[in-house]
């Protein structure tokens, strides 16, 4: 049971600076689950994700993410927590000064990959999964928004993460491309990686019925219906 849960938050209060953004947050996400996170802008969606990937520290309450105790999370542990996560952003956060290949290589080298052959094999593997094998040598600015987001997803997949956190991954994309990206994430969740995706796009949610959590007036509501 416990091995199956990848995110546990118990009575967590989330602060942005000294503002209490969300109080008494309880959340459990299991392996392979696909969860939508909705809520108005500024209602604390991003803060919730930041707590999970260690960009904000937990105030009150308890939290476990991919085996890391958020209460005991020191600055030096954060990189190792993030290696268990794949983070996908609205604005991609690719390393814009280098090619797709070098972007993926950076992640691998940063997370301890050494063998050149293994690196290029894994690189082709994840690019294959997102359908971008041919774009290996391209610079990020030579790719469309949808393609860049696919590269980000490929990057997130490199270390077989337990969780993918996606913060409005379709925010900058057209409806068709958005749907492709979400389908890709859904497929990834089927292979055992939990996906928590923050979004404003209700069309997508309607097309892909899943568990929905919602930040509303300083609380987190679970199993919400649209």
């Amino acid at each position: 049971m416990i091995e199956n849960t990848v995110i546990t938050l118990k009575s967590v209060d989330i602060f942005q600076q000294k503002h209490l953004v969300l109080s008494n947050v309880n959340l459990k996400i299991d392996k392979g689950e696909f969860v939508f996170l909705i809520g108005q802008t500024g209602s604390g969606k991003s803060s919730l994700l930041k707590i999970i990937y260690g960009d904000l520290y937990i105030g009150n309450g308890e939290g476990m993410v991919a085996g890391f105790d958020l209460k005991k999370l020191y600055e030096r542990d954060v990189p190792f927590l993030r290696r268990k996560l794949g983070i996908v952003f609205q604005d991609f956060h690719l390393l814009t000064d280098r090619s797709v290949e070098k972007n993926l290589e950076f992640v691998m080298r940063a997370t301890g990959w050494k063998d050149k052959k293994l690196i290029s094999a894994r690189m082709l593997d994840v690019l294959e999964k997102v359908g971008l094998r041919s774009k290996l040598k391209k610079m990020p600015h030579e790719l469309s928004g949808g393609e860049q987001q696919r590269v980000v997803i490929a990057r997130a997949l490199v270390n077989d993460p337990e969780i993918i956190l996606a913060d409005e991954p379709t925010g900058n994309l057209d409806p068709d491309t958005s749907e492709e990206i979400v389908l890709l994430l859904k497929e990834i969740s089927r292979s055992g990686t939990a996906v928590l995706m923050a979004t404003h796009d209700y069309q997508i949610i309607r097309n892909l019925p899943s568990r929905i959590i919602k930040t509303i007036s300083g609380h987190l509501a679970d199993n919400v219906q649209l």
């Binding site: 927590l81 390393l95 940063a110």
Partner: protein
């Protein structure tokens, strides 16, 4: 976001790096130039001091052999740079040239005495040191008197001290300016990469791993800037010596080498530390703080 895409793109990064190197080079060149000025001023003052002459006038009774023996003794004195024996006859010829009149013929005899011109080493060319030297000399029975101009030596020493203090003060101020400017340039260059640094952190790279390549580039830029500044300094030296050939007298390759090595060390150390602290700053920031 659009802005971020632009500013961190490869072309922009390259141009930021180039302007960083140029800024470092120019600032180091100014610092190096002052170093060269300092060395030249020091060598000039030594040159002037070592050309101050003491005439040791020898008694009439002294034989030429005695005088030459005295000269030999003087040559071994630690204060003495070089000596020149002026015989009675040579002194007469010199004076004749100055007067334009054959006074020996006129007087019927040569009234001049033999003397030894003594040039002291620069570090002993000051009045107290000269006084003890003269006292030592006067004890010698061969020596009639020692002639020199105390006021000239005082003036030279005073002026040199003032000029030296002024140049050193400028050098100190310029060094601080150099550090501040290079630090600022590098911080701006790193600032333009702050989102890149944040992205690297998001994928689980440790601080050390992110810092390393930045530090590598920082040190490289410091070195490149220093090398460019040395080329500029060499050019300035070359043209300076062409315009003022006398500068060659003050040339000292060892001292130039020390200055150039100092410029390299300064470039690498300042660039290294600045890069380290600037990158560390953005590594510490949370993603929210980046937009402030």
């Amino acid at each position: 976001m659009e802005e971020f895409e632009e500013s961190a793109s490869a072309g922009k990064t390259k141009s930021i790096y180039i302007s960083t190197v140029i800024s470092i080079a120019l600032v180091l060149m100014m610092t190096g130039l002052l170093g060269l000025l300092l060395v030249h001023a020091k060598n000039l003052s030594n040159y002037v001091k070592e050309n101050i002459v003491l005439n040791i006038i020898v008694n009439e009774s002294a034989s030429e052999g005695d005088v030459l023996a005295l000269q030999k003794k003087l040559d071994t004195n630690e204060k003495v740079l070089r000596t020149q024996y002026i015989s009675k006859e040579l002194a007469a010829i010199n004076l004749q040239k100055d007067l334009g009149e054959d006074f020996v013929k006129f007087l019927g005899y040569n009234p001049l005495l033999s003397s030894i011109d003594v040039y002291l080493k620069a570090e002993y060319a000051n009045n107290p040191s000269i006084d003890t030297f003269i006292k030592q000399m006067s004890e010698n029975k061969l020596v009639k008197e020692v002639v020199y101009q105390p006021s000239l030596i005082d003036m030279v020493n005073k002026n040199i001290r003032i000029i030296g203090i002024i140049i050193l003060g400028f050098a100190a101020i310029l060094l601080i300016i150099a550090i501040a400017l290079i630090n600022n340039t590098i911080r701006l260059a790193i600032y333009s990469q702050r989102f890149l640094i944040k992205s690297m952190q998001m994928v689980g790279a440790t601080r050390g791993f992110i810092r390393r390549p930045f530090l590598g580039y920082g040190l490289l830029h410091g070195l490149l800037g220093a090398l460019i500044s040395i080329l500029l300094l060499l050019a300035i030296l070359y043209f300076g010596q062409q315009q003022i050939p006398e500068l060659v007298i003050l040339r000292n390759y060892f001292e130039f080498a020390v200055i150039f090595l100092g410029v390299i060390a300064l470039g690498i150390v300042i660039a290294g530390f600045s890069t380290f602290f600037a990158v560390s700053k953005y590594l510490r920031l949370r993603s929210n703080d980046l937009y402030r």
